[in-house]
């Protein structure tokens, strides 16, 4: 049995029936870390709210831990943990009070499942008398995760837990998720940061309610259909302009200190690109072939 089964789920809003989630079908296996990767407006939050029984789908059906998200909503709520994108704890309660509150609601106690949250809670303990509203962003995030875990959920839903968080704290957060996975918890997590995709077992790249691709990060990268080269430059703008004017058969874009050039090598040869750049930029440039990353794949799919 899969931890999450989604069959033809759609959601639209308003009189104009604007599509938020467009007939999605996929499964998440037990114990998997499954990533929903996509920008704001992709439909990530609507999907989360449907699977956590907070929003009714307009069509299709879905099961979480074998239970129907519409019929069995009460039982699902007992079994899952949900950390919404917006901070949703009680700002006027202290760290400890919030945690106690969530434990009580779920008929358990902090002590009962302490081993699950111990590692995270240890970092919060010095501030346990502090009101949640007075915590820093990173601490709020850790407290929200503790509250979502306190009843030992079978499936954990995390909606953009790392948005607006600096790279160091983001890395720590993903290490925590790895340890939760080791305890057998299924995790569905969304993020707009493409570099985090590599940390998931499988990912779905989504945009405007549609799944563009769904697979392991490895397979998504392997299915990149074009050649990808990169070239270092001091003047990104100029290089982009030269390349885009040279041929519509290639797509050049900035990526950190490099310019990435994706092209179909039946139409353009790498040598050709080198010649053009040497002529217009400098005789020193030498584009090198690279393996795409998830962001390259996403950009490719957006163009398709």
């Amino acid at each position: 049995m899969s931890a999450i089964e989604v069959k033809g789920i759609s959601k639209w809003y308003g009189k104009q029936k604007q599509i938020a989630v467009n007939s999605l079908t996929f499964e998440v296996k037990k114990g998997e870390v499954f990533g929903l990767i996509g920008p704001d407006g992709a439909g990530k939050t609507s999907l989360f709210r449907i699977l956590t029984t907070l929003l009714l789908p307009d069509s299709g059906n879905a099961r979480v831990d074998g239970l129907d998200v519409v019929k069995d909503f009460r039982e699902i709520r007992n079994r899952i943990g949900y950390m919404p994108g917006r901070f949703s704890l009680y700002q006027d309660l202290t760290v400890e009070e919030n945690l106690n509150f969530f434990a009580t609601i779920f008929g358990t106690s902090i002590e009962e499942n302490y081993n699950l949250i111990r590692e995270i809670y240890i970092q919060l303990e010095p501030f346990k008398e502090r009101r949640a509203g007075k915590l820093s962003g990173g601490m709020k995030q850790k407290l929200a995760l503790c509250c979502a875990l306190i009843h030992k959920p079978t499936v954990l839903f995390l909606d953009e837990p790392t948005t607006g968080v600096d790279p160091v704290s983001r890395k720590e957060f993903w290490e925590m998720l790895g340890r939760l996975k080791d305890q057998g918890i299924t995790i569905m997590v969304s993020t707009p940061y493409m570099d985090e995709a590599a940390k998931c077992d499988r990912i779905a790249l989504i945009q405007k309610g549609d799944i563009l691709a769904i697979d392991t990060p490895e397979n998504i990268i392997n299915s990149f259909p074009e050649k990808l080269y990169r070239v270092q430059t001091e003047d990104t703008g100029r290089m982009l302009k030269i390349l885009s004017e040279y041929s519509s058969g290639l797509y050049a874009y900035a990526s950190g200190e490099y310019v990435h050039i994706a092209f179909n090598d039946n139409l353009i040869s790498p040598q050709e690109i080198t010649i053009v750049l040497r002529e217009h930029i400098s005789s020193e440039v030498s584009p090198e072939e690279i393996r795409p990353n998830i962001e390259d794949c996403f950009i490719h799919l957006l163009r398709a």
Partner: protein
Amino acid sequence: MNDKVIETDELTKKFGSFTAVDKISFSIEKGEIFGFLGANGAGKTTAMKMLCGLSKPTSGKAKVGGFDVYTQTESIKKNIGYMSQKFSLYEDLNIMENITFYGGIYGLSSKEIKMRGEALVEKLGLKNETKKMVASLPLGWKQKLAFSVAILHEPKIVFLDEPTGGVDPVTRRQFWNLIYEAAQRGITVFLTTHYMDEAEYCDRISIMVDGRIDAIGTPGQLREAFKATNMDEVFYSLARGAKRSE
């Protein structure tokens, strides 16, 4: 006046016994794209507030657009633009109403507002959408519009606080094209971001740790100084040493 648009000398802000910003000194030139990086809680927001004339420093000196951050905060506000992910446009006003409103706030005449507003919507390809509520626009458009509105009055400096959060990678790159254009026109761009690849798009960056600026330079200089292959590694090696818990 020289070409230094921002100049600080041991600028400091304390809240009680807590030093949020600890003697930061740096300068930024006209037309530079300056990335202001640091972990959450490092003091970036407090520093930015002082530079925007919204928070009085505890000690040290700073001039923004040639104006003093202690005594000329009103002049500073007139000469800067500001945009963040959280605060930008009014969702319940349409595109043209937002332009008119901000143009008025920045002291443009109605003639100027009309002229610049029309040029703006033309450029962004929103000419036929001017009566659309901002709430109904996709996030990527909102952010491009918000940025264009923030520089409607051609300020000396524009402050961008995580301007590209949450948008898709293609839109993010389009947004950067707008930033480059503004910088080429001579507008200094001061921005924060959590995307380390964007740090590479800046002319120079600084990295704040525990209220101090621990590194400043071009992306290439920092990579070299920290023997790192990318900005991610530079950031890790600096932020790992942070004492201030977040």
